[in-house]
């Protein structure tokens, strides 16, 4: 049976990748490890953004806010109690939370759940909106979250941020979280609920007429998205070791926007590809920030700031010329992979003909 074959192949792939992450963790230098980790974390958040923007068709720009909630939850609850007085030196930590310490995995889940809760609260007023209104309202909420974090010093240490978060630069750990996220979202999209999301994306009115409760499903998608953004944010916090409100400016969301646009809105495998290309690419584009000597002459174009010009130009070029990204709403499936391996040239020809 095809399903069984796919399941086995997927399991094998996961095991192989986990082995690779084991190898990466012990063999690669910390710089590469960092980039791998960042790729994985960005993949989680890209996937989460794709649930709302790609599958449910609700254009939300609130990812940075949900990440902030996750990152702060992890930050607040994992800093060792004895170090807290030192971190919260301006305004003492609220006694209500001052003695609660959690292991990272628990803090991650709590962070995700809190983000989902906030998404639920936000969802009621916001999800009635459509298109650009929704985009601007979610962006607004992400800013409100950030402003609240800046001002609620006794919980979040305000602008001073939280330092001394136990670092988690372990590729295996982050890989496992990413794999769980991927499998979960893939399973969700392939369930009846995932199809309901797609129906809403395609046509809200028809979806509703088919008995799909719009508010319930949009809210569900929004919450799931926030949950994983919270988890991703938490991992981001542990990777940095310190968080402060300025990490979560709404421009952070643009990174994930590029990921899902490049990968294809509505494609899970596309989001993974997008995350890897964007993260590694941004790191790679760093050469644009450094003076470049080509054939003995200095090229004056290359100086700090050029990389971000390239980044934004890429985002635009992607939308203008390549609106569906790499994958569109298609997925890389085992059947396609096998067909490709059997006949690489024929595979593309057939696809070309179909278009």
């Amino acid at each position: 049976m095809k399903n069984k074959r796919d399941l086995i192949l997927s399991a094998i792939l996961l095991i192989v990748l986990f082995g690779a992450s084991w190898f990466a963790n012990s063999e690669l230098d910390s710089y590469i490890r960092r980039i791998v980790n960042l790729c994985l974390i960005y993949a989680i958040i890209g996937l989460s953004m794709n649930v709302t923007n790609g599958f449910a068709g609700q254009f939300s720009l609130g990812q940075a806010g949900f990440m902030a909630i996750g990152a702060y939850t992890v930050g607040i609850f994992t800093v060792p109690v004895e170090l807290r007085a030192n971190v919260f030196y301006a305004v003492p930590m609220n006694p209500f939370i001052a003695d609660i310490q959690m292991p990272v995995w628990l803090a991650l889940i709590v962070g995700g759940l809190l983000a989902a809760l906030v998404a639920f609260l936000i969802g009621t007023p916001v999800l009635r909106l459509r298109g650009d209104y929704l985009a601007i309202a979610t962006l607004g909420f992400s800013e409100i979250i950030r402003i609240c974090i800046t001002n609620a010093s006794s919980f979040t240490n305000g602008a001073l941020g939280i330092k001394d978060i136990p670092p988690l630069n372990d590729v295996r750990y982050i890989f496992v979280v990413t794999a769980i996220t991927f499998v979960f979202i893939a399973a969700l999209i392939n369930s009846s609920y995932g199809r309901a999301f797609k129906a809403i994306r395609e046509d809200e009115i028809a979806a509703e007429a088919m008995g799909i409760n719009l508010y319930k499903h949009k809210c569900l998608a929004f919450m799931i998205s926030a949950f994983f953004a919270g988890i991703g944010g938490g991992l981001y916090g542990t990777l940095l070791g310190t968080v402060d409100p300025k990490n979560f400016l709404f421009t952070l969301t643009y990174n994930f926007l590029l990921i899902i646009v490049l990968g294809g809105m509505g494609s899970i495998t596309g989001s993974m590809l997008g995350a890897i290309i964007v993260t590694a690419g941004l790191e790679y584009l760093r050469i644009f920030d450094e003076p470049l000597k080509l054939f003995g002459t200095m090229i004056p174009l290359f100086r700090p700031g050029f990389r971000m010009v390239m980044f934004s130009a890429l985002l635009m070029a992607c939308v203008l010329f390549w609106r569906h990204g790499i994958m569109g709403t298609r997925e890389i499936t085992w059947s396609k992979l096998i067909a490709f391996c059997k006949n690489p040239i024929g595979f593309f020809k057939r696809k070309g003909a179909a278009q």
């Binding site: 230098d29 030196y89 940095l240 310190t242 700090p304 390549w322």
Partner: protein
């Protein structure tokens, strides 16, 4: 169109590969006659102005002290974009990729803190240039710095305010800026100790990037403070002071070392005349020989008066060179141990001795703006 895109992408990648590989030809460094020092500074983004000034100081120091242990010192400069995530990955890159022995930077305490764990874990010493937050070196044996810290700076300004007759002070802080919030707290603590619990009459907040301060200023005007302590970025601070003067607030403004940039005067114009702020260095207090050298060379190189930021960055480089010299080794851990015992190292901002946290014990200069120029008014030594 699709084809064109892929061609462009492919060629971009190819160019990248070519240039990227070019940089990777590094051999075992024990025998090499180059010592690499990494510099990570904000060269773009909000803090670019400060980062650029510090880079000048470091470059100048490198020009005047190009060698140590008979080896050439090579600077590897990286931009951290005023962004913490970037700062962390840039620091990791400098250490892992470029194999730097010492790291210098950064402007902005939060950027330095983002690199804290990386420095600690990879056991490479880092020397902060102008990151004044006490948290940078706390709990981190590998982080040192060339500048004084905020508790000291806050106390200095509180004393200054008190000495000049201020009894009721209002604080306007850039609430989203860690530097401003930290400094405001230490100022407040010190001032309350001097003038009593009711002496801070108001703490108002604004966000980075705000342009309009008329509402908080109108509130504060009605309270008639003797002085206003307003630590923050220079752009926002200059606009704030401008609007305060425009609203008819006559009280003097006090601030921190971030104000010492030409942009502060450019934006603030005549309205920032008479403000007072603490900083690390001034020509008037240029007592050491190194300082004279620095002043001469700086004026020659950059055609302008150096700021304290450049001086501190210059000193950070010197601390690193001094450490390497005394360690007589290129081993990062040995260099770290040598830096930790830095004593009376003669730099631009005076003699530097590092305490057990890795913070220097040195005094502060108080400056003002007069006739469109920064002018020295006072020096406060460590008690």
């Amino acid at each position: 169109m699709k084809k064109m895109m892929s061609v462009i992408l492919a060629s971009a990648l190819a160019v990248g590969l070519l240039t990227g590989c070019g940089g990777d030809t590094k051999k075992d460094d024990a025998k090499s006659n180059v010592i690499k020092i990494g510099v990570f500074l904000p060269l773009t983004g909000d803090n670019a102005a400060g980062g650029e000034l510090e880079l000048r100081g470091i470059k100048l120091a490198n020009k005047l002290h190009p060698e140590v242990l008979g080896k050439k010192v090579e600077l590897v400069i990286a931009d951290n974009k005023s962004d913490k995530a970037e700062a962390a990955s840039v620091a990791a890159r400098l250490i892992e990729r470029d194999k730097v022995k010492v790291l210098l930077g950064s402007y902005g305490s939060s950027l330095s803190m983002a690199a804290g764990n990386i420095v600690k874990n990879s056991k490479v010493p880092a020397i902060g240039t102008s990151c004044t937050n006490p948290q940078v070196t706390a709990n981190n044996d590998f982080y040192f710095r060339a500048c004084f810290i905020d508790p000291f700076q806050g106390t200095v300004m509180a004393n200054y305010a008190f000495k000049n007759g201020a009894r009721k002070v209002a604080i306007i802080q850039e609430v989203s800026n860690d530097y401003a919030v930290g400094l405001a707290k230490f100022f407040k603590d010190a001032f309350i100790k001097l003038a009593g619990p009711d002496s801070i009459i108001e703490v108002a907040n604004y966000q980075t990037g705000d342009k309009d301060f008329s509402a908080i200023l109108t509130n504060i005007k009605a309270m008639h403070p003797d002085a206003i302590f307003a630590p923050g970025n220079f752009t926002e601070s200059a606009l704030l002071i401008k609007q305060a003067r425009q609203l008819g607030i006559k009280a003097p403004f006090l601030g921190g070392d971030t104000w010492e940039t030409q942009e502060f005067i450019n934006v603030g114009g005549a309205d920032v005349e008479g403000v007072a702020f603490s900083t690390a260095f001034d020509r008037e207090k240029a007592t050491t020989a190194e300082a004279k050298k620095f002043l001469d060379e700086y004026v020659k190189e950059y055609k302008g008066e150096p700021s304290a930021l450049s001086a501190l960055a210059y000193d950070a480089y010197l601390i690193a060179i001094d450490g390497i010299k005394r360690a007589n080794s290129t081993d990062s851990v040995k260099i770290r141990d040598a830096i930790a015992t830095t004593k009376d190292m003669e730099g631009v901002t005076g003699k530097t001795t590092l305490d057990k946290n890795g913070d220097p014990i040195k005094g502060a200069v108080i400056k003002t703006v007069r006739d469109g120029k920064f002018k020295y008014i006072d020096f406060v030594d460590v008690k």
